[in-house]
């Protein structure tokens, strides 16, 4: 039986992960809308259809089409910057 509490070394990076809080969902779409294709097969087909529906139902909203270079890696910094600078909201297609 143990008579004292054992001490272990922390195997983690010891930093609480940064909370990834998404921006508040806008009440309505009234600004530039980004549609991001993550570059998976047939993602463009899906994004085309989304764009068609947006233009049909929200003709006043500007649509900006964006595309990741590859689905296998996180979006590069310049693409993230572009989203932040140009888009009020984004729709991202996540699968094939």
């Amino acid at each position: 039986m143990r008579n004292e509490s054992p001490v272990i070394l922390d195997p983690t990076d010891e930093r609480a992960p940064m909370g990834r809080q998404p921006a508040a969902r806008p009440a309505r779409l009234d600004g530039p809308l980004g549609i991001i294709d993550i570059a998976k097969a047939r993602g463009d087909v899906f994004c085309d259809e989304v764009e068609r529906l947006v233009r049909e139902r929200l003709p006043s909203v500007d649509v900006i089409r964006l595309r990741k270079p590859t689905y296998t890696k996180p979006a590069p910094g310049d693409l993230r910057d572009e989203v932040g600078a140009r888009c009020r909201a984004v729709i991202q297609a996540l699968a094939d």
């Binding site: 143990r2 004292e4 509490s5 054992p6 001490v7 272990i8 070394l9 922390d10 195997p11 983690t12 990076d13 010891e14 930093r15 992960p17 097969a41 270079p69 590859t70 296998t72 890696k73 996180p74």
Partner: protein, 557 residues
């Protein structure tokens, strides 16, 4: 070897409690007079011989300013017996955890240290030596400004020399504890105290630190022991581990290696695997995040395989071999704990595979007729390396009938064509693990790896028209994966392109070949790759550095 401070050196300060619980400090500054320290243990014959002499010196010079302090290496009860037996009138402190004895560095007791102002040592020795004792008495008297008293009497019948008894500091259990105490100060990781009523294994599981199997609690002693396996400093950052790109020090790698069950001599392999996996080329973030089956498959080459008992033979992908099982697991735990890659979060694999617990093999270089993987990839044969490959689980290539390289190469090619999907050609890397019996078939005809790769490409080459999506099977090659010259102005493949045979792999060199496994059995294995190339993951080889011989680890706690 004794490190007892010699004349002229500064004696370490200390503060202990005496037998009554009062503080006994030796921290004299410049104004302090002479002090004689007498280290002893109760069951030492040489200490028995010396104690009466020290008591006489105390009585003779105490009134003139000599302070005598005994330091016992024993618990109170044994110390009391020794003190009473010799009628010791000077203060005696208890060095209960032996840290002061360790600081003084002597190998044997008794150890005597005469110090003057500012704890400057005037004379010291261990064991019994008449000449040393005479010198010490003279210097003690000199420090007190009186003639040397007659301490040694002829009727004592003292020998000229008598060796002392081993200091308790060198008892294996004490030595280990002291080493931990000293070494622990060099460790930077946050300490986590497990609640006294909790089972350590359950506690670690409850904190989400495991992979579903129990992990070894990484105590300070175990981590220090693990760090003995490498010459690299504990604070060195060896990688930034995805997905959080958190820095992994040698110490953090060691902690996770302890948890995985590694022995210290495996640590350099784990470090090298982490270095290789955390490169842009390997793209561990993608390997981790994909819904596919990929996971780091570790292939070890070079002399270290034999030194650490890494299995290269029978059941090489299977259970029962500690080095294989724990090295791969350590990398996975590192990714989980330091990188933050956990299933259901960043790790989104649809089905996963058993290799995501661990997957590490050695190449069976000794039975291969080919140059081993690391030599092919530019390293000297005598260098030890790890190669990480983002692979699926191994699948069987069965051929007990082929007796020629041409036939066996065809079998392998047709099996390899099923990687991912038979209609997907121009694929990236694959790992082909050739069994020793199959390797012999190739060796008999001096068939090189290049010959085998060419044969695989030859038998798998099919006209593009058979590889495109059609009504029979809607899966097939995407037009975007074809060379631009295959497409006409309408964006469709040209007639000529439709008749062009396409082999399974983009480049012959995408077929990585190693020999491994038992010497009986005409079965080889293939491990399909993931999205390979610049947009995906490419196999990476790293030299294993910082190896250090390690003593038997059976007593590590």
């Amino acid at each position: 070897m004794s490190d007892l401070p010699a004349a002229g050196a500064e004696a370490p300060a200390f503060s202990l409690t005496d037998r009554q619980g009062a503080t006994l400090a030796f921290d004299g500054g410049a104004a302090a007079g002479a002090t004689l320290l007498f280290f002893f243990k109760h069951d030492c014959a040489t200490c028995e011989l010396t104690a009466p002499l020290v008591e006489r010196l105390h009585r003779a010079l105490g009134p003139h300013g000599l302070r005598v302090a005994g330091v016992s290496q024993d618990p109170e009860a044994d110390t009391a017996g020794f003190v009473d037996r010799h009628g010791l009138g000077f203060d005696v402190a208890l060095d209960a955890d032996l840290t002061v004895s360790a600081d003084y560095g002597f190998d044997a007791v008794p150890a005597l240290v005469l110090a003057g102002a500012a704890r400057r040592v005037r004379h010291s020795f261990e064991g019994f030596a008449r000449q040393d004792l005479v010198a010490l008495i003279e210097r003690a008297a000199g420090a007190c400004g009186v003639p040397a008293p007659a301490i040694i009497r002829e009727e004592d019948g003292l020998p000229d020399h008598r060796p002392g008894c081993g200091s308790k500091v060198h008892d294996p259990e004490v030595a280990r504890r002291l080493a931990v105490r000293r070494g622990a100060a060099t460790l930077g990781a946050r300490r986590v105290r497990i609640p006294v009523d909790d089972d350590p294994f359950e506690f670690m599981a409850s904190q989400g630190l495991d992979d579903g199997l129990p992990v070894v609690p990484p105590t300070e002693a175990r981590v220090l022991r693990m760090l003995e396996g490498t010459t690299r400093p504990a604070s060195e950052v060896v990688a930034h581990v995805p997905p959080n790109l958190a820095p992994a020090t040698v110490e953090k790698v060691a902690i996770n290696a302890v948890m995985a069950g590694c022995r210290p001599e495996y640590l350099p392999v784990v470090i090298a695997a982490a270095e290789a996996a955390c490169t842009d080329a390997f793209n561990l973030h993608g390997v981790l995040a994909t819904t596919y089956f990929a996971t780091p498959v570790i292939v070890v080459n070079g002399p270290i395989r034999r030194r650490i008992g890494l299995n290269c033979g029978g059941n090489v992908f299977g259970q029962g071999f500690r080095a294989n099982a724990t090295i791969g697991r350590a990398l996975q735990l590192l990714v989980r704990n330091v990188g933050g890659g956990r299933p259901g979060e960043v790790d989104m694999s649809t089905l996963g595979q058993p290799g995501k617990f661990t997957c590490c093999i050695g190449e069976h270089e000794e039975v291969s007729g080919w140059e081993p993987l690391h030599v092919e990839r530019g390293f000297p044969a005598g260098t030890s390396t790890v190669t990480v490959f983002a692979g699926e689980a191994p699948r069987a290539i069965r051929d007990q009938l082929s007796r020629t390289a041409r036939s066996l190469g065809a079998s392998m090619g047709w099996c390899l064509e099923t990687m991912a999907h038979p209609k997907l050609h121009r694929m990236g890397e694959v790992l082909l693990v050739v069994s020793p019996e199959h390797a012999r078939t190739f060796a008999r005809e001096s068939c090189t790896k290049a010959d085998l790769r060419a044969r695989i490409q030859e038998v798998t080459a099919r006209p593009l028209r058979e590889l495109l999506p059609d009504d029979e099977c809607q899966k097939g090659m995407a037009l975007g994966t074809l060379p631009p010259e295959y497409l006409g102005p309408d964006g469709r493949p040209t007639a000529e392109a439709l008749d062009t045979p396409l082999p399974k792999f983009r480049r012959d060199d995408d077929i990585l070949i190693v020999v491994a496994g038992g010497t009986a059995g005409k079965f080889s294995a293939m491990l399909g790759g993931w999205a390979s190339g610049a947009a995906g993951s490419t196999a990476v080889t790293r030299e294993i550095t910082g190896q250090r011989p390690v003593r038997n680890a059976l007593q590590t706690r």
